[in-house]
């Protein structure tokens, strides 16, 4: 079997820093045929929406008129497409913000009678890529462990929200003692899980037939956990990539909304460039604090319920503009980084959107959706029917297919979105 040379080994020998393009020799498929750089996916959602009237232009197509928000992205105009008229069907939930759970999953009626979530689109891609990278996916949250990524059992994957911790997980090797103790822990964890598997089988024999479903689910969960530990064990022996970047310091003050988002966004190019993971999700959350931004005096969530009050709308626009600026900077960075001669952005589909179309009314229709990069032809505003929305899952299918997942459908999709 072909064993790819670790990037770090290569770097040690060559003495170059990692900001150089990745070398083909590190591609695991080297020796067969040269392949394109791997496809990647970044999914960002801002849970409190974007003011529709500041975002959507009145004209569609490639010569759409810019708007207040799109002005902030104008240097990337040829690198993104704006969509309107997309949403997930049947999103009436128990609580008005419950659509936060379903933005990437499209499960219907969140929180209502017997609700169980389903797998999120990023995790479908992650499962497909499996062990290609050290981390199948990276799940980020701006303030808490809440995320928008859900595994195949509909269980939320806890978000990393402390940049220093993510950085050390990705790039810091740790002392030999730490690595040894990690190894021991992994081995112990695996042996315990092994025992639990046996115990579950025994318990299964004691319970009635109807009860076995629960225990079988548990048994599967144990097996998956064991595989995950085994996979991290394998990666433990491979050196982590090194990057020329400072270890970020964590901002603990939740009023630093923009600072926190920016720190996480800064990690994304590093994650992709080092091929630590190819799937990243980031949830921009409500921080329940007045954002520390000039001119903003109220909390983000209350402002999103502006009630058409002009002073509130003005403050809300300040916050949303700043969030969009962090997104713009991310696109700039992904555009500057090159990989085998082409821009990182061209192999990375970056979706920026929200689970709310109109946060003032908690309306989950007509979602703001911006798709950047990924090798698609951009520079357009595509408006779908505002009264009869197209399933957002159709776009998800398109994204999955670009990731070479053989997906005909995802959740509530009715086809794929015709994207060039």
């Amino acid at each position: 079997m072909h064993r790819p040379i670790s990037r770090r080994t290569a770097l040690r020998a060559s003495g170059v820093a990692l900001s150089l393009p990745l070398l083909d020799v590190m591609n695991p498929t080297f020796g067969f045929e040269p392949k394109d750089p791997p496809k990647r996916m970044v999914l960002i959602s801002s849970a409190l929406g974007l003011l529709p009237e500041a975002l959507f232009p009145k004209t569609t197509g490639t010569d759409y008129e810019s708007t207040e928000y799109l002005e902030l992205l104008k240097e990337h105009r040829e690198d993104f497409t704006l969509y309107s008229g997309l949403s997930h069907p049947d999103q009436t939930g128990k609580e008005p913000h419950d659509t936060e759970m379903t933005f990437l999953t499209a499960a219907i009626n969140p929180g209502l009678g017997g609700f169980k979530n389903s797998i999120s689109v990023d995790q479908v891609a992650a499962m497909h890529l499996s062990q290609a990278t050290r981390f199948r996916s990276i799940t980020l949250g701006s303030n808490t462990r809440e995320s928008q990524s859900y595994d195949m059992n509909g269980v939320m994957l806890p978000a990393d929200y402390r940049p220093s911790k993510i950085f050390s997980k990705l790039f810091l090797a740790g002392s030999p003692e730490e690595r040894l103790s990690q190894k021991q822990q992994l081995a112990e964890g695996r042996s315990i899980l092994d025992t639990l598997g046996d115990q579950t089988k025994k318990l299964n024999r004691r319970v009635s037939g109807a009860d076995r479903k629960q225990l079988n689910e548990y048994f599967d969960a144990i097996r998956t956990a064991e595989q995950e530990l085994a996979s991290s064990g394998q990666w433990l022996d491979r050196p982590k990539p090194t990057v020329e970047a400072e270890i970020p310091t964590d901002i603990t003050d939740s009023s630093e909304l923009i600072g926190k988002i920016r720190e996480l966004m800064n990690l994304i190019p590093l994650i992709l460039q080092t091929d630590s993971s190819r799937v990243v999700s980031l949830m921009i959350q409500d921080h329940s604090a007045v954002p520390n931004i000039d001119g903003v005096r109220r909390e983000h969530h209350p402002l999103s319920h502006h009630g058409q009050d002009p002073s509130r709308i003005a403050e809300l626009k300040i916050i949303e503009s700043q969030i969009l600026s962090t997104f713009s900077d991310l696109l700039t960075k992904l555009g500057q980084n090159t990989e085998r001669g082409s821009r990182l952005l061209d192999h990375t589909a970056v979706l920026f959107g929200s689970n709310l179309g109109n946060a003032n009314a908690h309306d989950p229709k007509n979602l703001p959706i911006i798709l950047a990069g990924g090798g698609y032809k951009h520079g357009r505003y595509v408006a779908h029917d505002p009264n009869n929305n197209t399933p957002l899952s159709n776009l998800f299918v398109t994204l999955l297919q670009r990731m070479e997942v053989e997906a005909e459908r995802f959740a509530t999709s009715t086809g794929s979105l015709n994207v060039i």
């Binding site: 049947d90 009436t92 128990k94 609580e95 008005p96 419950d98 009626n109 969140p110 209502l112 009678g113 017997g114 169980k116 808490t144 462990r145 809440e146 595994d151 059992n153 509909g154 269980v155 939320m156 994957l157 929200y161 021991q184 042996s191 315990i192 899980l193 025992t195 639990l196 115990q199 579950t200 318990l203 004691r206 319970v207 009635s208 109807a210 009860d211 629960q214 225990l215 548990y218 969960a221 144990i222 998956t224 956990a225 995950e228 603990t252 329940s288 007045v290 520390n292 109220r298 909390e299 969530h301 209350p302 319920h305 009630g307 058409q308 009050d309 003032n360 009314a361 908690h362 309306d363």
Partner: protein
């Protein structure tokens, strides 16, 4: 009085019931109550012999016109068969029975069916449905095995290991749903759980096993000589200082900042996780109104904080103390709440130097920390984990080492034999003990040491499916729970943790199923402090109190809302419910009571005079009080508000769903929300009048909105209001970090809390409305009993369970007898006692 007769004797009931998931009005319930279903004459095991001719007649005459294969409704009667064994068919017929029973169908526009035909048809259907459901329950059990919820797992580790502190955070949150997190059908399981459980068990064992040098601590925080403190005293306001100054030996603070007085920066490192007594001596400085001195904990690594305690202070010095569980990364700080600016409106930030400021502050004289409070060292919890092992300080004095008298393997075996039966909630065989102990062998061989090796076996116990799943085991050939399964169900119901020694011993000796002993155990458990977990967790989920922080009111519109008030709000509801249990008071008190629980803070909030101090206590309410009953609690006003605004829809829906157990159907797909518009003169109420104008809305909203209108008299934080608060639109100072208590509101439009219930009863305000709601006290009791059974058994109420609920309702006099009595009845009922 609490016998288990209910299993043997199905008493005659002639009450109809209302369980299903769409709207009912007060008049419907009365109608239902009058309707005699006679189903009690059927024992569930009897086969219903009547020919279904009455049903055919009823359907032909009264239903088929609308519900045929051309129907535009969701129901086509021609496509529904009579194979009740089929779950789909079964569920369809339940809906049909419920709508006919309630009188909702046939609709008022259609001719009335012959009453005898309808009664016969219903009797036939009820009999069939009960029979099928009951047989299914007999065959497969009523509920499935379930896993512990994340809170239950935390309590379980606490009780097994003698530790404390939050552990649930390592497990994924339970998915939000409209039922309890213990309902098996709602529960999820994935590798995220498995990895979280492994992590949680590790953390728990770390805290349980303490072998460091004996910390001997009685420390005074030395603010006098603290350079850190001096820094904030000297720093300018711009740089976060200037809000505290030194007055001889005392510190005077004008802001409850989390950095000034923090314990860690003032020289206190928490040596180990454990209980500590924190004593504070302080007073109010320049008080003109109530001042609160509080104690808060923060953990920057975990990113969480909590209000430990809040004390009312005046000019006299007061020494107060509290015992709290602290972890090494925690710090705490004395803080101040309810501080008013200077009489001239001046605030500390522009009234420098601080010692010239005339506003309210808190004076802190002394902070003493004692702990960890351990009677022995290594702590008892560590000793308990390793029976038969004694401990001696190591030669270098850096830690304690085990003094073993037998082989390590044998000592580990003892530890396993001691923990496993408690954790698995049943006797554990020699073979199981041996198998678990063997897990330590590779580690022993690798010379990882006694503790590390023992931990492998102990950790396996703590993450085992045997601890994680409540499997509801039954006696052979029946659905009755075994003694041990009953003990588990009982202890997880009332304590959220495994049976203690007494319960396990009773189960071991086969005595727990004795009804007198069972009653005695329920009484003992309710008297135990651990039952607070039941009160808190049940209320959190039933009344959504766990979502109190989901939205935050605007601090300028509602400056009085702070952590101290929030805590008092929750305490009111919890004390109130606890009091109904302790004193066995009528369930109808949930609708209206002539008392409530208040402390000074909450009483001031409610405008009730003469309640002093921070302790919650029972307060009798005046005749003309708007308070009394759950719906008047500020906690409920808060969880049913959206941040700074209230919507009658959310509150009305809460009354129907949570209090009455009759949730309205969700809005049809495609119906948008009403977009709030707070600019003009329109009130929410005027906006909602659109509901009445649109036919597709009015059917439901004529029932949802009125309770919400009555509750409009409470603002988002539970103030009684006659006028809405509106922002004055003054320029708000919002320089970084310089936010402060500042009011920005005028009183605007009048609040209109009058209305008319769907069945035509007029109300002029909350008291009228509560009077009307008293007509539904039986339904409130039915709902509460159903919720208790669901919560206790992990399974929703099924069709065949309804009779049993009605029986409990009879026995508890339809809400007139006490809550404690109801809990005893729940524990004796068939659903609780069987799988």
């Amino acid at each position: 009085m609490f016998s288990d007769k209910c299993i043997a004797n199905r008493s005659v009931t002639n009450k109809g019931y209302v369980y299903f998931s769409h709207l009912q009005t007060a008049s419907d319930w009365q109608q239902v109550a009058v309707m005699t279903l006679l189903l009690s004459l059927l024992t569930t095991r009897q086969v219903v012999a009547e020919a279904p001719s009455a049903l055919n007649t009823l359907l032909q005459n009264s239903c088929i016109n609308c519900h045929d294969d051309n129907t535009e409704t969701g129901l086509d009667l021609t496509s529904i068969d009579r194979n009740f064994q089929n779950p789909r068919t079964f569920n369809s017929w339940i809906k049909i029975v419920d709508r006919i029973s309630s009188g909702e169908m046939p609709p008022a526009s259609e001719p009335r069916p012959d009453s005898q035909t309808q009664a016969d048809a219903l009797r036939f259907l009820n009999g069939k449905l009960i029979e099928v459901n009951y047989q299914e329950q007999q065959k497969n059990g009523r509920v499935r095995s379930r896993r512990l919820s994340r809170m239950e797992y935390e309590h379980t580790l606490h009780d097994l290991l003698g530790i404390n502190g939050e552990i649930a955070r390592y497990l994924p949150p339970e998915t939000k749903s409209d039922s309890f997190d213990v309902v098996a059908a709602r529960q999820e399981m994935s590798s995220v759980h498995v990895k979280g459980i492994l992590k949680a068990a590790d953390i728990a064992l770390d805290e349980a096993i303490q072998l460091g040098p004996k910390p001997n601590m009685r420390r005074e925080l030395d603010y006098r000589n603290s350079k850190y403190m001096q820094m904030w005293i000297e720093r300018s306001v711009r740089r976060g200082g200037g809000t505290v100054f030194r007055d001889k030996d005392d510190l005077i603070m004008f802001r409850g900042e989390n950095y000034n007085l923090r314990s860690d920066a003032n020289g206190l490192r928490i040596p180990i996780a454990g209980k500590y007594r924190i004593s504070v001596t302080g007073s109010a400085y320049q008080p003109r109104s109530s001042v609160t001195m509080s104690l808060k904990r923060q953990n920057d690594i975990l990113g969480d904080s909590e209000l430990f305690a809040a004390w009312d202070v005046d000019e006299q010095f007061r020494t107060v103390s509290t015992i709290k569980y602290l972890r090494p990364d925690d710090y705490f700080y004395v803080s101040a709440d309810e501080l008013e600016p200077a009489p001239d409106g001046g605030i500390i930030y522009n009234s420098q130097p601080a010692n010239q400021f005339k506003g309210e502050g808190v004076r802190v004289r002394q902070v003493i920390v004692e702990g960890p409070l351990e009677s022995t060292w290594p702590p008892q919890r560590t000793r308990d984990l390793f029976p038969g092992v004694s401990w001696a300080p190591s030669a270098n004095g850096r830690h304690y080492r085990p003094v073993t008298t037998r082989t390590h393997y044998e000592h580990i075996r003892d530890a396993v034999a001691s923990l496993a039966p408690k954790a698995f909630r049943r006797p554990v065989s020699e073979q199981e003990i041996e198998e678990l102990t063997k897990l330590a062998i590779p580690s022993l061989k690798a010379k990882h040491g006694f503790i590390a090796s023992a931990r492998v076996a102990l950790k396996t116990i703590l993450v085992s499916p045997e601890i994680l799943f409540l499997t509801n085991e039954t006696v052979p050939e029946a659905t009755r729970l075994t003694e041990h399964a009953l003990a588990s169900r009982l202890s997880y119901f009332l304590w959220r943790s495994p049976p203690d020694d007494e319960l396990r011993q009773l189960a071991n000796s086969g005595k727990l199923t004795d009804s007198k002993i069972l009653d005695a155990q329920v009484s003992r458990m309710l008297a135990d402090k651990r039952s607070d977990r039941f009160v808190n967790d049940f209320l959190d989920q039933w009344l959504n109190l766990d979502s109190i922080d989901d939205t935050t009111p605007d601090t300028y519109l509602y400056p009085e809302y702070d952590d101290v008030l929030r805590r008092a709000m929750l305490a009111e509801t919890r004390h109130f419910f606890r009091h109904l249990i302790d004193e066995d008071l009528a369930i109808s008190n949930l609708i209206h009571s002539d008392f409530t629980f208040l402390n000074r803070k909450l009483a001031e909030h409610y405008g009730i005079a003469n309640v002093k101090g921070e302790e919650m206590r029972k307060v009798m309410l005046g005749e003309d009080s708007v308070r009394g009953g759950l719906l008047t609690h500020a906690s409920i006003a808060k969880v049913t508000a959206n941040g700074s605004v209230t919507t009658p829809v959310k509150r009305g829906s809460f009354v129907l769903t949570n209090l009455l157990g009759l949730p309205p159907a969700p809005p049809p797909p495609g119906v948008g929300s009403i977009e709030p518009d707070t600019r003009g003169a329109t009130t929410i109420r005027e906006t909602l009048e659109k509901h009445q104008a649109v036919e597709s809305c009015s059917a439901c909203h004529q029932k949802i909105d009125p309770p919400g209108f009555a509750l409009e008299c409470f603002d988002p934080i539970g103030n009684y209001r006659e006028r809405y608060r509106v922002s004055k639109g003054v320029e708000r100072t919002a320089v970084t970090g310089l936010r402060f208590l500042h009011k920005d509101y005028d009183l605007g439009q009048q609040v209109d809390c009058t209305g008319r219930t769907a069945d035509g009863l007029e109300f002029r305000g909350i008291r009228d409305f509560k009077n009307h709601l008293m007509n539904s006290k039986q339904q409130v009791a039915r709902n509460l009993i159903s919720k208790l059974i669901t919560y206790a058994t992990g399974g929703e109420i099924q069709f065949a369970d309804r009779q049993e609920v009605e029986r409990i309702l009879d026995q508890t006099e339809h809400g007139e007898s006490g809550l404690r009595t109801a809990i005893h009845h729940v524990v004796h009922c068939r659903m609780f006692r069987s799988q």
